[in-house]
């Protein structure tokens, strides 16, 4: 991001709209969880822990709760609708055409709107970009998970739009 600030700006704006803006019927916690889940499938250490910590902050839960969702969301005490959306996000991670009509119909029957389906697919797709950007250039990431948890409240407060890569 700091290497090329001009491309960082639209990347941050996209994250801000998809993850932080409040005019969305998916909660911030749900949207961050979709990002963290896709990042864990992509094995991106930095992204899964940044966004897992954000979800943990919004859900007011512990780290185990987030890890359970990442490992086996069907076993986690979350809504059936969120499970249906995570299933779609998992298919997007494999490739767009892996999303089936049955998955979409199931999510719709559980109350998911077109906008929520759109955002789920775009969040999952955006993390397939962010994860590859971070790992494709072999960037440095703090190994201690607490670092990410400590930063989450500040990021939740400030959002992503003016995100400073040096902070």
């Amino acid at each position: 991001m700091a290497f090329r600030p001009e491309t960082a700006k639209p990347l941050n704006e996209l994250a801000e709209i998809l993850l932080h803006q409040d005019n969305n019927t998916l909660t911030r916690g749900e949207r961050e969880m979709i990002g963290a889940y896709v990042s864990s499938l992509n094995d991106c250490f930095f992204c899964q822990h940044v966004h897992g910590a954000m979800a943990q902050h919004y859900f007011q839960c512990d780290m185990q709760f987030i890890d359970t969702i990442k490992r086996d969301y069907n076993a986690a005490p979350i809504s059936a609708k969120l499970k249906a959306l995570l299933s779609i996000a998992g298919s997007v991670q494999k490739g767009g055409s892996h999303v089936t009509t049955a998955q979409v119909e199931n999510a719709k029957s559980l109350g998911a709107t077109d906008r929520e389906l759109h955002d789920t697919v775009l969040i999952a797709a955006a993390f397939c970009m962010f994860n590859r950007y971070v790992d494709g250039l072999n960037t440095w990431a703090p190994q201690e998970r607490q670092v990410y948890i400590d930063r989450a409240a500040m990021r939740a407060e400030e959002g992503y739009a003016g995100s400073n890569p040096h902070k």
Binding site: T7, D43, G95, G96, S97, V121, A125
Partner: protein, 186 residues
């Protein structure tokens, strides 16, 4: 049929951008920064990277669209574009571009698939840090666009003659919200 209710008169990603103009805005800015520049890599080279990654992701709409935009920049050389998409190692392009396409192909599989020796090889052939950065981000960006289009089952025209007029529009005016807010070129 698309998974969500989008404008039936718009093809592919254009229908999705119109459905969500707010997210379309930063995506258009990003596409212009990465694809509409001759700084280091030419616009043709950038579109070839995009078309190759889209081909690997099996996104017909995107590899057809960006392949045709590359054709515009390459004076109509569709044979070259098709060769780069499917078999760039044997295409008549520079070794430097081949080394960058190899990095892009690794990014398509996953960020961690990029090996240090691929980066060193590209550098030895004259690739700058910015060329490598842009290659990785173009490849990553198309891993997003391709999934966005196919993940929502956006309408993909099967009539190949419909792609060149849209490609010409982008080659002349760049990316941005005009691609869905103006009448579609035919």
């Amino acid at each position: 049929m698309p998974h969500i209710d989008v404008d039936k008169n718009l093809p592919g990603i254009r229908s999705l951008l119109a459905f969500s103009p707010e997210t379309a805005e930063p995506m258009g800015v990003l596409a212009n920064l990465l694809l509409r520049s001759n700084d280091g890599l030419s616009m043709a080279e950038r579109e070839l990277i995009a078309a190759h990654v889209s081909y690997l992701n099996d996104c017909f709409y995107c590899h057809q669209s960006h392949g045709e935009i590359a054709v515009c920049y390459l004076n109509g050389d569709r044979d070259l574009v098709n060769k780069v998409k499917a078999d760039y190692e044997n295409a008549p392009i520079s070794d430097k571009l081949k080394s960058l396409l190899s990095i892009a192909a690794s990014v398509q599989k996953g960020g961690k698939q990029v090996r240090p020796d691929q980066i060193e090889y590209a550098r030895a052939l004259g690739a700058t840090d910015k060329d490598i950065h842009d290659t990785v981000l173009i490849a990553a960006m198309f891993c997003m666009f391709n999934r966005y289009v196919d993940g929502l089952a956006a309408h993909t025209p099967s009539d190949l003659s419909t792609y060149p007029p849209r490609a010409k529009q982008v080659a002349e005016q760049g990316y941005g919200n005009h691609v869905f807010s103006k009448n579609q070129p035919v």
